[in-house]
Structures are given as structure tokens and as C-alpha cells.
Assembly symmetry: C2
Homo-oligomer: 313 residues x 2
């Protein structure tokens, strides 16, 4: 049994690799919901959708986000009606948001809705939100605080990043499935996918019961670095690190994942490759996932690395 | 100044004719909202949208409802996700529903939202909902009660019609613009468009303050019959009349519009043509609107007929 913690595109890719090499009953994918937001009366869960679309093979690989064979009539009409057009909602994608919002309003849990949507998309592996309670990431920038998607999409991460807080995380109840899996004696490893440690994994660790369960977990935990050299494969992780005065690279993961990870799988060119920092063993491999085969190779290497480790923390 | 009361497609056609022959400041179109419903977390206002699309020239004439150049990716995805597919929501159409729902949830009035949407679509003439408060038509059938769209769309009007009630109508506040127009000394005539008298005009008249204002109104009122011979041009009006034991035709309008109409413009073949029934004068013309010219001709004839009448009620 493996637990994977995932955020956006990079996390979805490794989760997809793990799903390809593990049967459904041996994998639980817990996903960040700090990026979730309410937009035009709809509850949007970008990371859950990215993971779901990727595992379903429905993701648009060329665009890098959203669903393939997408059409844009809705957005075209929203623009003509003077509505907000800064967050692109495809016609096909919209079905998820509308059905999810309806069920949330009827009092159903995000966990139940997420599982149903994933199953309807043909995904056999369980995908769960980190919590059924709303957690909303608020980015602190040189221009003041802004809701996550305002920073990330509307402002394209241009404001200088000063910090982040996770509204609701302190009182959010953790995903019951995640907590159960972390306490399961069958658990072999926890894999933190190559997602942004601050924006994507940060919200998950900000839920006290999840952080405690990860610290108390008997199984070894490995993080896969999202950095290739000094850049992130995708997204603003390197920019954010520099704005915080931290050198981008696998070593930058040690502090945010302190007490949780036993090892970090870093890129071949990472300056920390081969080192052990604060008890965390850094092992280098080709962390760039070019295709399905690359996802599966990295998935296998992550598992193999984790089970080779003694739990040190 | 002319006030038009309108429901669905037939009503929208005459309203469009009136808008073509009258400047915006001389026409107010008040629209039925009894068909409105909440579907998949969205508030849908079919009659307001039909009138708005028709006046904007955006209606799909071939299909008879919805917006032209429509695409259906959203519905395709809803079906794949196991969502409800009995009410077709086009991708372009959806923009209205989503933006409207958001603004309603923020506490804005349906009147303000409707005007804004109409303006964004290029409609200069004011379109107002009969009320900003929710009124929901419930159809009483041989199979029991059903929400209007369940009867109308989901069940295609197949259950036998026994009656209708308008939930919320008794406490609904009337459209302020409509009440002001009906009391305006400049008002020349009220035109009840050729909409279903029971399903489309019934909800408007069920709001006590509107019924009273129409009765007290100094200007003459003319209804245009939706019946051609013994059938309705569109929709279930004739079927409903028969199920109620009433002969379809202009004479069937006298009772539901009692105390309100002074005259009825009926089709050339209508058995009541040329008669006066309970003080209501029946004048025959070609009531079938084949095209824009037909809409404008019938609009002019309705106005001319109304202003020729003395207020008798």
C-alpha cells in the first residue's frame, strides 16, 4: 500500500505513473485543495481535476491543463456578456464544476463527489481531497494578500511572493481515507509527488492532523523534487524560492518537509545529489517525466527508494 | 407607451415585433418566471432567455429554442459523468445561467440582472421579470403534482393536465417597473402576447398586485390568441384546454383574462371571430407570425386594435 500526496501537473504525472504500476487497492492519492475556489457560483477544484483528468487519460497534454477535445463556447459567451474571463473554463470541464457544486450544495462530501467523478471518468484508483472542509490558500505578496487563483492565474504569479497562509487549515478535518491509510500497518511508503512544496504540498501539511499522521507514520516517506537544476519543470516554484531568498533545488525541500521525509529523489544535476541533509538522504535520478514510460519509471524508482529507507524521523 | 406580457416562443415573437415598431422608451416587456427552476445548482429562466435571445436576434430559429451557433460539449460531458441530461443546456446558453446564478446568490435582483444581460446582448428595449421573487409553477396531473419543467420538458407534457398552482405567487412582489408602467398616464395599451394562457400568462396574473393593476389600469388591454383554428401554433395549450374540457380557441381566453382584456385578436378561422363574449370584442386577423414582417404586422395590428377600444372592464 502506497500513499501519494499530489498537487498540480507534476504531481498528477507521478500519480499517473504510480497508478500504472500499482493496482487500485494498493494506492491512495490525496490531493491538495488549497487552490480550490468559488468562481461564478461554482466550486472549482483545479488540482483534483488535473489528477483525475490525467489518470483518466483525458488531460490535454499539449495545453498542459484541462481536458482534451475541449471547446470554448461558454467562455466566449461569458466574455460577450461582460463576465469574468481571466479563468478559462472549457465547456467539457464545466460539467464537473457544475455537478460538483450542485452536490456540495446538497451537503455531500467532496470525497464522495471526487470518487464518483473519477469513477465516471474510468479511474479505478482512489483519489481523495486532503479534506472535505474548505481550505483556501491566500498568497501574501508585495502588493498585499490575494486569493490563490488571483495570484496564480489572474496575476500569473507576477507579484513578489512573501508568504502564504491556508485559511481554514487549522480547523479542517483531514481526509478520513488518508488518515486511515497513514495508520494502516500495510502501508509501505508515502510518496510526496514533484509538486510545488509551498503552494501545492504546503496546504496538505498545514492541516494539523495530516502533519501529525505523516510524522507518526511508520512507513518511510520520500519526496520527489520538482526542481530540475535550478528551475521547476512547470510553475512558479523556482521564482517563489528565489523571492523567499532560498536557492531552488532539492535541498530547499528539507525544511518544509522536516520531520516527514526520510529521502528526496532529486534530479541528476541537483547540487544536493548524493548528500544527506538533516538526516534526509538525497538520491539522484532522471526526474523529468517525458511520457507514460517516464512516469512509470519514476514511480517505480520512488517506491524502490522509499522501501530501501529506514524510517529515520 | 405599451406594456407587453409575454411567456415563451409565441410571446417572444410578438414582443420582437413590438420592439421593431416601438422605440425602447415606449415599450416594457414583462415576462413570466413561473417556468424558472433550479437545475444543477443553476437558476434557469427559460422565458426571459427566450425573449432576450429573440429580441437580440440570437435565437435559434430552426430549433425553436435556445441560442444560435450553439455547441453541446457541456451536455456531452454531463451525460458521461452520469448527470441529468433531460434538460438540454447549450454551452453558450450556459453563460447566462452561470452569471445570473452568481449575481442572484450575491443578492442582486433578477430585474437588474435581466436588464444587464439584455443590454450585453444588444437589446435596447426593457425586459423585466414579472417579479424579483421566486414563483414556481407546479402542474397538477393525473400522475400527481410535478414541478413545471418536469411536466413540460422531462415528461413532454404527456401526463393529463388537471390544474396548476403557482408557488410563491401569493407573496411575490410585482415587478416595480411593470406596476409603474401600468399606473403611468402615458400608457396607451397592454398587449397580452400569444402565449399559453394557463402556463405562461397564468403565473403573471397569479401575482395579486399585478392582477389588480391590470384590472385597475386605465389603458385598454388586448390579448392575442395563441390558437390557430383549434390548435396552438406551438406548445401544449390546445392539449391542456381539451384535458380541462374546454374547446381550444380564442373564446377560451375570455375566462382566464376576465376583468383584464377588452379585446382579443384571434385567427381568421377562429369560431369566435367577430363575436363579443362577456363584453370582450373578438377581431380576426392572420395571427401566424411567419417572419419578422409578420411579427411587425401583428404588433401594429395589436396596438391599433387596443387603442381603438374603450376600456370596458
Amino acid at each position: 500500500m502506497i500513499v501519494a500526496l499530489a498537487g498540480g501537473v507534476g504531481g498528477a504525472r507521478l500519480a499517473n505513473g504510480l497508478a500504472a504500476v500499482l493496482p487500485p487497492e494498493q494506492l491512495l492519492i490525496a490531493v491538495n485543495t488549497g487552490d480550490d475556489f468559488e468562481h461564478m457560483s461554482l466550486t472549482i477544484c483545479p488540482d483534483i481535476d488535473t489528477v483525475t483528468y490525467t489518470l483518466a487519460g483525458l488531460n490535454d497534454r499539449a495545453r498542459g491543463w484541462g481536458v482534451k477535445d475541449e471547446t470554448w463556447s461558454f467562455m466566449d459567451s461569458v466574455k460577450k456578456l461582460g463576465g469574468p474571463d481571466w479563468f478559462a473554463l472549457g465547456d467539457r470541464d464545466l460539467a464537473k464544476h457544475v455537478l460538483r457544486t450542485e452536490r456540495l450544495q446538497q451537503g455531500e462530501s467532496l470525497s464522495a463527489i471526487t470518487l464518483d467523478i473519477a469513477r465516471a471518468c474510468g479511474v479505478a484508483h482512489p483519489i481523495v481531497p486532503m479534506s472535505d472542509d474548505a481550505v483556501r490558500s491566500i498568497v501574501i505578496t508585495d502588493e498585499g494578500e490575494m486569493a490563490f487563483q488571483n495570484y496564480f492565474v489572474r496575476r500569473r504569479c507576477e507579484p513578489v511572493f512573501r508568504g502564504i497562509r491556508f485559511e481554514g487549515a487549522d480547523i479542517a478535518r483531514p481526509s478520513p481515507a488518508l488518515i486511515a491509510a497513514l495508520a494502516d500497518p500495510q502501508l509501505e511508503a508515502v510518496i510526496i509527488c514533484p509538486s510545488n512544496p509551498v503552494l501545492s504540498i504546503g496546504p496538505i501539511l498545514a492541516i494539523p492532523a495530516i502533519a501529525k499522521a505523516l510524522c507518526d507514520c511508520a512507513a518511510p516517506c520520500v519526496a520527489v523534487s520538482p526542481f530540475i537544476g535550478e528551475e521547476a519543470v512547470k510553475g512558479p516554484a523556482a521564482k517563489i524560492m528565489r523571492e523567499l531568498g532560498i536557492e531552488p533545488g532539492a535541498a530547499a525541500l528539507v525544511s518544509p518537509y522536516a520531520g516527514i521525509v526520510d529521502g528526496i529523489l532529486c534530479d541528476l544535476d541537483d547540487p544536493a545529489a548524493g548528500m544527506t541533509i538533516d538526516g534526509v538522504k538525497m538520491v539522484a535520478t532522471d526526474t523529468f517525466m517525458r511520457d507514460d514510460a517516464g512516469q512509470q519509471r519514476l514511480a517505480r524508482e520512488s517506491i524502490d527508494f522509499a522501501v530501501s529507507l529506514q524510517r529515520t524521523v
